[in-house]
């Protein structure tokens, strides 16, 4: 047992809300524990605790899996209006657990103030923050996709005002100053993709504090009694070609589900008889008309396209192994999509949009294929090529490397935690609080 005490904060608990960030944070906490570190997982919960005078409830007897029932935040500047829960209740928790390092997986729903309270609690311990999206700079749900639907290249007060005319450029500038006043207190930002790192560096976060580090995956255990995956595919009766595709995860417009539906419609008739495209995942948060479109496609395009419904995280390997390809058609930049890691873990090449974190993780022609983001026609051509080019699958399959393992990621993080802040200062990095606002850079 080491002397490390690591507090992992997350904007939600994966048992209550299944998202990539939550899963990664929880996996990290479990791995820390597995490696003998005293780690606490503290996830924000949207419902009241039901306990008077404390915003915390426990999900484990040892008090290491905790919920933080913090009131809703101001989602423009990510500020917790009930600051008392921060500087009193959260402070009590810090004093009681006495962490030697604090790792944030997002600040959304909690409010940025928790970062400042950690720094006020201790000037010495390292604060690490994993960035899961572009929320710090982007008010459009942190996706850097303009409200017009165009992908956005950079955040700047005037541009942001164009997306949200009800907020003045000055308000966006203040938002930036405000967010940065808390970012200044963070020692290390963990970026799961280089793409995301570059975006934050361009926004003004000192690049020396931005580390590219994958969230890390559990290693896939081969299932006993089954043939290796590639043989299973080759031996299937109905689709002798490599023509089985899957889309996994959240199904939504943003995840490109509609692009895929359109692409299937555009496939040549003969191909539609041979390809099998499965949609796995939840439409829980999708609007009604979106669901209707998926159900209609399911009814009309069978057997080429079928909707298979939600799945448990544990069964993802099994689903991926039953297909040849995984499609990631998101119409926003993404960061490091979990589903790409899952595909690679199962040894499946990926068809993805040619932008952002997706294009970074999947190399076109090496371990997958790119198609133009948002283009159903290009996706249709891509599917046709994948399904009908002899030897392509095998070649791309051989380019797939397993994703970084969670053990390795956590080992790197422990080095950060243990290096304290001195590592940062020794590296000649700027002091917290001296990062220039990006305004001057825009000039």
């Amino acid at each position: 047992m080491s002397a490390d005490r690591v507090l992992v904060l997350c904007h939600a608990h994966p048992h209550l809300s299944l998202g990539g960030g939550e899963i990664a944070a929880y996996a990290q906490w479990r791995e820390l524990r597995r490696q003998g570190v005293d780690a606490m997982f503290l996830a924000r919960a949207p419902m009241p605790s039901g306990h008077t005078g404390t915003p915390f409830t426990a999900r484990s007897a040892d008090g290491r899996d905790m919920l933080f029932h913090a009131p809703p935040v101001d989602h423009f500047r990510h500020s917790q209006p009930a600051r008392r829960v921060v500087y009193e209740s959260f402070r009590d928790l810090l004093e009681s657990f006495r962490p030697t390092a604090v790792h944030f997986h997002h600040y959304v729903h909690l409010g940025l103030e928790v970062v400042r309270e950690v720094r006020r609690y201790s000037a010495a311990i390292p604060i690490v923050m994993t960035l899961h999206d572009y929320l710090g700079m982007c008010n459009a749900q942190g996706q850097m996709r303009k409200t017009s639907g165009m992908l956005c290249e950079r955040a700047a007060p005037l541009d942001c005002h164009c997306c949200f005319p009800e907020r003045s450029p000055q308000d966006f500038f203040l938002r930036e100053l405000f967010v940065k006043s808390f970012f200044n207190l963070v020692d290390w930002f963990v970026c799961p993709s280089a793409f995301l790192r570059d975006r934050y560096a361009a926004w003004g976060v000192p690049p020396e504090r931005l580390l590219v580090l994958e969230n890390g995956q559990q290693r896939a255990a081969p299932r006993p009694g089954q043939a290796p995956p590639e043989e299973a595919g080759a031996g299937a009766q109905e689709a002798p070609a490599r023509a089985r595709f899957a889309v996994l995860g959240q199904l939504s417009e943003l995840k490109g589900t509609l692009v895929l539906l359109d692409a299937v419609n555009m496939l040549p008739k003969r191909l539609r008889k041979t390809v099998r495209i499965e949609l796995h995942g939840t439409m829980q948060h999708a609007p009604e008309d979106f669901r209707q479109r998926v159900e209609k496609a399911h009814a009309e395009l069978q057997p080429a396209l079928s909707y298979r419904g939600p799945y448990l995280p544990e069964s993802v390997d099994g689903i991926v192994r039953m297909v040849d390809w995984v499609i990631v058609p998101s119409i926003w930049w993404e960061n490091s999509p979990l589903v790409i890691q899952e595909a690679f873990r199962a040894g499946r090449p990926v068809l993805c949009s040619d932008v952002g974190g997706m294009a970074e993780k999947v190399e076109d022609g090496v371990n997958g294929l790119h198609f133009r983001v948002g283009s159903a026609g290009d996706l249709a051509r891509c599917i046709e090529r994948a399904a009908s080019t002899p030897g392509l699958w095998k070649r791309l399959r051989s380019g797939v490397r397993p994703p970084p393992a969670i053990e390795d990621t956590v080992a790197s993080l422990l080095e950060l935690y243990r290096g304290g802040r001195s590592a940062l200062q020794g590296a000649g990095a700027a002091q917290p609080g001296t990062a220039p606002a990006s305004g001057a850079q825009h000039a």
Binding site: Y87, E117, R120, L158, S168, Q170, L174, L177, G433
Partner: protein, 796 residues
């Protein structure tokens, strides 16, 4: 009003056929009493166009042309003017004797034949209910009273019966046959004859012929012999308001007159009979009034008569007497006390008369046309009134507009600023009039607090004088609201700016702004966190409209070591944000750990007032004035600013380099610059605004700096008297302070190595109204120029 059909008067009469043969008529009321009917109405062109007009009551007939009294009805003239109607003789009053008036008779008919051959008949209700009739007659009391002189004594007696409910002030002598009438159709009728304290003789009545025909009019009593023509008030020339559709609008009988003058000695003992004698080419006629000389009786008669005449005449008579009284008191100061009662009575009467004056003038006579309308009257604290509206006088009718109060008068038409009013031009064109000048006007009328409201007189050079009541603005308007109303009508580009500012905006807005009475009793002072015992700088930040700026500032200051020695004062200058901000304060300190003081002066004081309120609390030797929308770029700026101030002796006000959020220059010092559109007044220019700040380093001498971020020795700030609170809302008070520092021998500087962001005007409370904002700036600019233009020019 009698019945639905007759409830509307001339202006709403049924549309008649056009042309000189216009056929239009109305019975305003017909009231039955015993075997008499009292009928009041009009027929268009009664004396010119009508060949026959008959009232048909049951089987009986009544010839209006022959037997009815004629009543001038200028309201009818006005209504049908564009159809060729002229002259005022349209009205009639008939006392119809019907031997037996059947009880079931509900209506009468009015049958009219015109010279042109057209004819028509209309039916009107007869009123019998005494209560309703009484009420109806009361509404026409003034008319009836004015008709008394033209009625025969027999008619008067009948009228007296009708009039038993309303008071017509029919006196015994009205009901007596006149002594002699020398062949005149009308008597010499004396309505008032009394000696008021002073002694002041008041005589009034109606002559049998128009006043202009008089060769003599005298009053004799004992040894007294007064020439009434000397200083007579010709009531019939006062001009009535034809736009008013009520009874009071009746023009005067041509011979109406009023007279008032001081008597040389004591009042006559009254041993002999008094006598008024009138002579004209036609002959001589006299009347024997009984002058009231007992003060109480005299005043009672005087007041009764006043209540029977038009407010215009009432005012003129009272003013005449006030003037006479004033002379008398000047001659004999001892009389002041005994005359105070009369003076008070006159003031009350004048106030009542002014209340009865019309609120606009719309006169179109044969020789002139004059129109004056108010759009707005704004009370300017205790300094006067600000009026706007439009005025028209036709070419050649030079008109003078004056404002009258008991203590003096003000020549409005010599002072006012005229402005184009295209809407009025269109309106005039519709009535066939061409605009003669810029018809709009605005004017600040200086006057002290008034016991008697003031009124305007419009004197047309070729015509009579008209009096108009100035609409009284509600007293409750907040001064700032009044300033807003004044500025709403300002269009600097279309007005004579020098006159506008010097005579109108300047004094009016200055007085209003000075009249604010902040509710200081609601002030509040609260410390959050332990105050720094020995601060280097006191920072005063007013908050207006948005308090979240404080949240941003504190988030950015929390990690700045310079803020450990600071006395931070947030002054809430906006009552509406106080409760929420106050609640937030605990959390702001709890979260950021920067101690500060919340100061609330009790009200919205404006930028200067709020800053001064905070500065009075300052404990440090240096004072930093800071806007809430100024945000630091990085920690350490405050220390550098303090260093820059101490490094150079004789520094007055020290500014910083302020950038917009896009990184361009917002402020690097201010420089006076002439502004051509505003008659070359000096304004504060921000050189390099919007430019790249590259190369702006070091500390430089400048004329002025912005108060958005300004460092000054606290003692000097107090010595100079702080920011001037004379500027409305906030503008120019920073350069005003800087000019005062210069005048005290200091040098103002800007520390260009100290750099902050300024989200300019995000914190100002002027809202989006451009006209209001421009107006405020214009006023403040004017005030600043009044004070500093000479100094600026000397320094150029």
């Amino acid at each position: 009003m009698i019945a639905p059909e007759s409830s509307a008067f001339a202006a709403r009469a049924p549309a008649p056929a056009a042309g000189p043969g216009l056929l239009a008529m109305r019975v305003d009321f017909a009231h039955a009493l015993g075997n008499h009917l009292l009928v009041y109405g009009w027929i268009a062109g009664l004396s010119e166009w009508v060949a026959s007009a008959v009232l048909l009551v049951g089987d009986g007939e009544f010839d209006i042309l022959k037997d009815a009294a004629r009543v001038p009805r200028p309201d009818v003239t006005e209504n049908f003017r564009d159809q060729g109607l002229s002259g005022d003789e349209h009205g009639f009053l008939a006392l119809v004797e019907v031997p037996e008036l059947p009880a079931r008779l509900q209506t009468l008919r009015l049958q009219v034949y015109l010279n042109s051959g057209r004819s028509g008949e209309s039916t009107w209700p007869i009123l019998r209910d005494a209560t309703v009739a009484g009420a109806t007659l009361r509404a026409h009391e003034g008319t009836l009273r004015r008709l008394i002189p033209v009625l025969s004594v027999r008619q008067r007696r009948v009228l007296a019966e009708f009039a038993s409910t309303p008071r017509l002030n029919l006196r015994a002598e009205d009901l007596k046959e006149p002594e002699d009438n020398a062949g005149f159709t009308l008597p010499l009728h004396i309505q008032v004859c009394c000696v008021l304290p002073g002694p002041i003789l008041v005589v009034g009545g109606v002559l049998p012929r128009p006043l202009k025909e008089a060769t003599s009019l005298s009053f004799t009593w004992d040894t007294l012999d007064v020439d009434l023509l000397d200083g007579i008030i010709r009531v019939s020339d006062l001009g009535a308001d034809p736009a008013r559709n009520d009874d009071e609008s009746l023009a005067y009988l041509p011979g109406s007159f009023l007279f008032a003058a001081a008597l040389p000695g004591e009042a006559p003992a009254g041993t002999s009979e008094a006598r008024v004698q009138f002579s004209c080419a036609q002959g001589t006629v006299s009347a024997r009034p009984q002058p009231r000389r007992d003060p109480a009786e005299a005043q009672a008669q005087f007041v009764a008569h006043l209540s029977s005449i038009d407010p215009n005449a009432r005012l003129q008579l009272c003013e005449r007497i006030v003037a006479v009284l004033k002379d008398r008191v000047e001659q004999r100061p001892a009389a002041a006390r005994t005359l105070a009662g009369l003076r008070h009575l006159l003031e009350r009467q004048m106030a009542a008369a002014i209340k009865d004056l019309p609120e606009h003038l719309d006169a179109r006579g044969a020789r002139f046309t004059a129109k004056l309308f108010f759009d707005r009257s704004i009370r300017v604290a205790h300094a006067g009134s600000f009026v706007t509206g439009w005025f028209y006088a036709d070419e050649g009718s030079r008109a003078q507009v004056r404002f009258h109060t008991p203590s003096g008068e003000f020549d409005v038409s010599a002072a006012w600023v005229r402005c184009p009013r295209p809407d009025v031009d269109r309106h005039l064109a519709e009535s066939g009039l061409a605009a003669t000048e810029d018809q709009g006007y605005l004017c600040f009328i200086p006057h002290e607090a008034l016991a008697v409201p003031g009124y305007l007189s419009v004197t047309v050079a070729s015509g009579p004088s008209f009096r108009i009541r100035v609409p009284v603005a509600p007293n409750s308007e907040a001064p700032v609201q009044s300033i807003r109303q004044i500025l709403e009508v300002i269009e600097p580009e279309q007005m004579d700016l020098a006159r506008l500012l010097d005579l109108h905006l300047g004094p009016a807005i200055g007085a209003l702004w000075a009249a604010r009475t902040p509710a200081r009793h609601r002030s509040l002072l609260e410390a959050f966190g332990p105050p720094c015992p020995d601060p280097t700088v006191s920072i005063v930040v007013p908050l207006y409209g948005r308090h979240d700026f404080a949240d941003y500032q504190l988030a950015l200051w929390a990690d700045d070591p310079d803020f450990r020695n600071v006395d931070l004062i947030y002054v809430v200058d906006d009552p509406s944000i106080l409760p929420e901000f106050r609640r937030l304060c605990h959390d702001l300190y709890g979260m950021y750990g920067v101690p500060f003081t919340l100061a609330y002066p009790g009200d919205n004081l404006g930028f200067a007032g709020a800053t001064n309120h905070g500065a009075a609390l300052a404990r440090a030797p240096l004072l930093l004035l800071l806007n809430s929308d100024v945000m630091p770029q990085a920690p350490g700026w405050l220390g550098r600013m303090v260093e820059a101030l101490y490094a150079r002796p004789q520094t007055g006000v020290l500014g910083a380099k302020l950038l917009y959020e896009d990184g361009t220059v917002q402020h690097a010092g201010m420089q006076s610059m002439r502004y051509a559109p505003w008659r070359r007044m000096w304004i504060n220019d921000h050189p390099l605004k919007g430019m790249n700040p590259a190369g702006l380093t070091g500390t430089r001498e400048v004329e002025c700096v912005t108060a958005a971020c300004a460092l000054i020795e606290t003692a000097l700030y107090r010595e100079l008297g702080g920011l001037s609170e004379d500027y409305v809302i906030g503008d120019f008070e920073d350069s005003d302070l800087c000019h005062r520092a210069r005048a005290a021998g200091r040098v103002n500087r800007v520390a260009l190595d100290v750099c902050l962001y300024h989200l300019e005007r995000q914190s100002q409370g002027l809202g989006g109204d451009v006209r209001w904002r421009t107006g405020v700036t214009l006023y403040n600019c004017w005030l600043h120029n009044q004070r500093w233009a000479a100094a600026i020019e000397a320094g150029q």
